[in-house]
Point group: C2
Amino acid sequence: MPKQPIRVELSSTKKPKPQSDQLEFGKIFTDHMFVMDYSIDKGWYDPRIIPYQAIPMDPASMVYHYGQSVFEGLKAYVSEDQKILLFRPEKNMERLNRSNDRLCIPQIDTETVLEGLNELIRIDKDWVPDAEGTSLYIRPFIISTEPYLGVAPSSTYKLIIILSPVGSYYKEGIHPVKIAVENEFVRAVKGGTGNAKTAGNYASSLKAQQVAETKGFSQVLWLDGIEKKYIEEVGSMNIFFKINGEIVTPELNGSILEGITRNSVLELLKHWEIPVTERKISIDELIEAHQSGELEEIFGTGTAAVISPVGELIYHDQPYVIQNGQTGEVSKKLYEAITGIQKGTQPDIFGWTVEVDSVVKQA
Amino acid sequence: MPKQPIRVELSSTKKPKPQSDQLEFGKIFTDHMFVMDYSIDKGWYDPRIIPYQAIPMDPASMVYHYGQSVFEGLKAYVSEDQKILLFRPEKNMERLNRSNDRLCIPQIDTETVLEGLNELIRIDKDWVPDAEGTSLYIRPFIISTEPYLGVAPSSTYKLIIILSPVGSYYKEGIHPVKIAVENEFVRAVKGGTGNAKTAGNYASSLKAQQVAETKGFSQVLWLDGIEKKYIEEVGSMNIFFKINGEIVTPELNGSILEGITRNSVLELLKHWEIPVTERKISIDELIEAHQSGELEEIFGTGTAAVISPVGELIYHDQPYVIQNGQTGEVSKKLYEAITGIQKGTQPDIFGWTVEVDSVVKQA
Ligand SMILES: Cc1ncc(COP(=O)(O)O)c(C=O)c1O
Ligand SMILES: Cc1ncc(COP(=O)(O)O)c(C=O)c1O
């Protein structure tokens, strides 16, 4: 697929921008969006930047009925020298295409989409917040649009990128959360769509999440759907454990999302020569490690929080306090390293950041 | 929830109606649709019938990202005396509310929605086809509409009903299909959303279906996601087997959709005193029954086809011909009984049909 030229239609009005300290997650969107269409005849066509707007959709559009859709999530940060940096965006594009494959959605030309994203951020650059901990959340997604009620892959799609300035995940500094091991509901199973970033995985997680929240837990820790025994991942994070000096994370088994933060953590740990293994971990092993005092840290990894230390694990209504409910050393070190690279305050030794073309924010 | 009055806004233009013999499934929609909104403050509000139209949707609408949506499918038929009959519509409303519960969508007042449906069909009555085998397919669905990227239940929803005149499922009379036992992909697992009618279940089924079609099979037969051993259901049908004179169907186990046709078949078989059991059935048991000559019939049940005889089962690339590839006695008898009740040519001994108010189609 050749890279395609991007058409630009600027908005005649500008929305008011929110205060940096009043930002929430994913509620406010910038002035423009990137859109590209697909039809069987034309392939992906008409990549364009247009004013952010509601899109008229036929009520028979397949996405409403059969959920054929995929999405991504990544962030842009303002560096100290006022450049805008993206974190490993090509990884998100690769994952989007893997999700497309699972959902029978046509592959995208990742270069066209990355160029569209670059251009979109250039145009909406004044929306990228620069206060401590803030960032621009980027949501590329693809929806099936054919108005047809047959259960089959759609013949038409829309790829859209929207941007949302978001506040600090940790308003009062990084702090550990409580997560509950889920025993009833299942998020995904081998052979299903767990390793794709598709809408249905999140729909199926809502109920368990709702139950957990009413009990005061921030997220659920999913077990495998087959034996309800092996640890999978958290709501929208992968999970790591420090057991007796070694870091362990569940291996990619077909039902876990391959997180880009997870990958970055693995690379950093290897670089630091901290022992790390990807393997099966049972909940029983964890509880035993806790009892023998060897469960030293737990942390989640994901684009939203980067690193989210876990201070308490709840299993069968029994609380297991981790690291006295404090943030562990490795969690802290990883958080600082990754956010440092993301914001350009630390050397980008892995070449992870990509600068948005010729943008220097006005201070 | 009290029943609410329904506002009506008629279309000023009428679309051309298709020829009865050129009808396909789910491609053409009538002149009007029913819509109702939900907000936390107001609950479900403003039930209305409006011209069929595209709906402007914010690109951040939650349904696009997290698939929080549910749907139903039922049919209306024209009887010999030109009345319009619905088949067990209250069952679909009950199932919609069960799906709502699983997907954290607020419960609907089924009376308001049934009245809306009744009124909608009255208005679009000339769209209900009456040629042999044709019907009006009814698609109620609910989508989450809040423009918010947090993974949480939406605070706003739309319920919509659209209508599509559909052709005969069996253009050349009822005929058996080939279905392939799926070994790699999994549709649903206990603890997941398999027993809810929600978009993600269908999204996850597309890939297996696509593979099956390229091999010349019409549908896949799903095995359980845990042991890949027990029969679950077909694409959009439940499944029944006649083994040595007895009818067997997989028991409702949390991952199978509770089909309304399935329920009707169970009631009819009991009424006819044909032995029928709901229980676990392994694929091994089926293959053995085939080898010993005891596997006498297989048929799927669902709103679209009513009864779909299976003439060939493919398992590990091995074909197993059923009933010489012909439609079995029980399949035929059930098809005639149910379609007879649906079209009013047989006495409605179970009180399954509901007449659309004061409509007599002009012949
Ligand atoms: C289910 C799930 N697991 C893990 C992750 C973490 O992935 P990443 O590090 O790429 O954000 C996410 C979030 O994107 C997710 O939705
Ligand atoms: C997954 C699935 N199973 C079974 C059925 C059959 O259900 P019903 O008989 O209510 O149409 C359907 C179709 O609605 C379905 O989508």
